[in-house]
């Protein structure tokens, strides 16, 4: 799980162009939206594309998104249970 969390952090930094951040700057359990990283709705769409491209996960129910993208930890948990690649 730790490897997946680090990999997700690297991918989030790259996909969202968080140029000045490193893996260690992202708190695994901190909220991604609003507080914490302060991501917005466009970032949410970028994360959906990330999950589909990298892990073969297609999010069909938008209501799930809020819980899945709560933190890096929650994304890692969802990916580990639903990944297709």
């Amino acid at each position: 799980m730790d490897n997946l969390i680090d990999q997700l952090k690297k991918q989030i930094i790259e996909v969202l162009n968080l140029e000045d951040m490193t893996v260690s700057d992202i708190d695994t359990d901190a909220p991604l939206f609003g507080e914490g990283l302060g991501l917005d709705s466009i970032d949410a769409l970028e994360l959906i594309v990330l999950l589909e491209r990298e892990y073969g996960i297609k999010l069909t129910n938008p209501a799930e998104g809020k819980a899945i993208f709560k933190s890096v930890s929650s994304i890692a948990d969802y990916v580990s249970k639903n990944r297709k690649k």
Partner: protein, 321 residues
């Protein structure tokens, strides 16, 4: 006014010490965008967008105007880098898995709209994408609106980028030698002349014009010195020589593409150079192309004459104030 090009960004060092071209494809030197944009806003911006913000804010600061009446933008190809990435993604992943940021920021009018958002400017905002006359089209729009009294000032800009892939395509289409570059130029035009660098006296676009028609627009009184879009390509430069042969007077002829290269916004770099020459009353010697014998001490004006491959000619007359 502000310029980002293959020369030192947001600087006029090129007038004394221009950077030489080291290849046929030269990218722009990036300005320090962190001085202008906070990282959280900059992270979604591509290079051309960062350059545009830097030149726009610098030009507005220089003019002392922070809320222009209009934002008028020229761009031949828009956000080329993002468009390219978006199309590659589409080819690789299909239409169902595309990045929203690239989709939003791959259009031509992304550039002008971004400036509107950054400045919180809700005024007139228009973009002209007419290849090599995009800048002149934007300038003409602003010029006419100023003359009509519809606006008091406007931020005019022209911005184009080239990626390694677009450079490769360009080389295939135009195998003759020509230095492909990138330009981002912003200038403020205003009806208030108190802080002006120079006066834009006229802007003229001639579509499909014959040489004699272009020559008839120039005269010995107003066009003693002209800045031409010559670029060391014989077929291009010969047309300018034909124009000079048609004139009944011998102007001093300057060039700018030997410093700023060629792209769809390069004439905006020529406009910038001409304005600085008038402001400083100094002609960098490497810009002299023909007619040096007719140089005079005072530079009362400079007429910028460009042509595109489809025989569209543009004439912008700048005068000292």
């Amino acid at each position: 006014m502000a310029l980002v090009s293959c020369q030192k960004p947001l600087s006029d060092e090129w007038m004394a010490e221009p950077c030489p071209f080291e290849s046929a494809y030269v990218r722009a030197q990036e300005p320090n965008s962190k001085e202008f944009i906070v990282p959280s806003e900059a992270r979604r911006m591509s290079r051309i967008l960062k350059r545009t913000v830097c030149t726009s804010l610098t030009a507005l600061n220089e003019a002392g105007i922070h809320d222009p009446n209009a934002i008028i933008t020229g761009t031949g190809m828009g956000c080329m880098e993002n468009s390219e990435k978006f199309l590659i993604d589409m080819a690789t992943y299909g239409e169902n898995c595309l990045k929203p940021s690239l989709f939003m920021q791959s259009t031509h009018n992304t550039i002008g709209s971004l400036i509107g958002i950054v400045l919180k400017c809700h005024g007139y905002n228009n973009t002209y994408s007419h290849e090599g006359i995009s800048f002149e089209s934007a300038l003409l729009d602003g010029f006419v609106q100023l003359k009509l009294g519809a606006i008091r000032n406007a931020l005019i800009g022209s911005h184009d980028e080239n990626t390694p892939f677009s450079a490769l395509m360009f080389e295939r289409i135009h195998p003759e030698y020509r230095v492909l570059t990138e330009t981002s130029m912003s200038a403020v035009i205003t009806s208030d002349s108190s802080n002006a660098i120079c006066e834009v006296a006229s802007v003229c676009i001639l579509h499909g014009a014959d040489i004699d028609e272009v020559a008839s627009k120039l005269n010995a009184n107003e066009d003693k010195m002209i800045l031409l879009g010559v670029n060391d390509v014989e077929i291009n430069d010969n047309t300018y020589l034909e124009l000079l042969a048609e004139l009944s007077f011998k102007p001093v002829c300057l060039q700018y593409k030997n410093i700023f290269g060629d792209n769809f916004s390069s004439s905006a770099a020529g406009f910038y150079a001409a304005a600085r020459i008038i402001e400083r009353q100094t002609i960098p010697p490497f810009m002299l192309w023909r007619g040096n014998d007719n140089l005079t001490d005072k530079i009362s004006g400079l007429t910028i004459v460009n042509q595109t491959e489809d025989s569209t000619w543009t004439i912008i007359r700048l005068k000292a104030v």
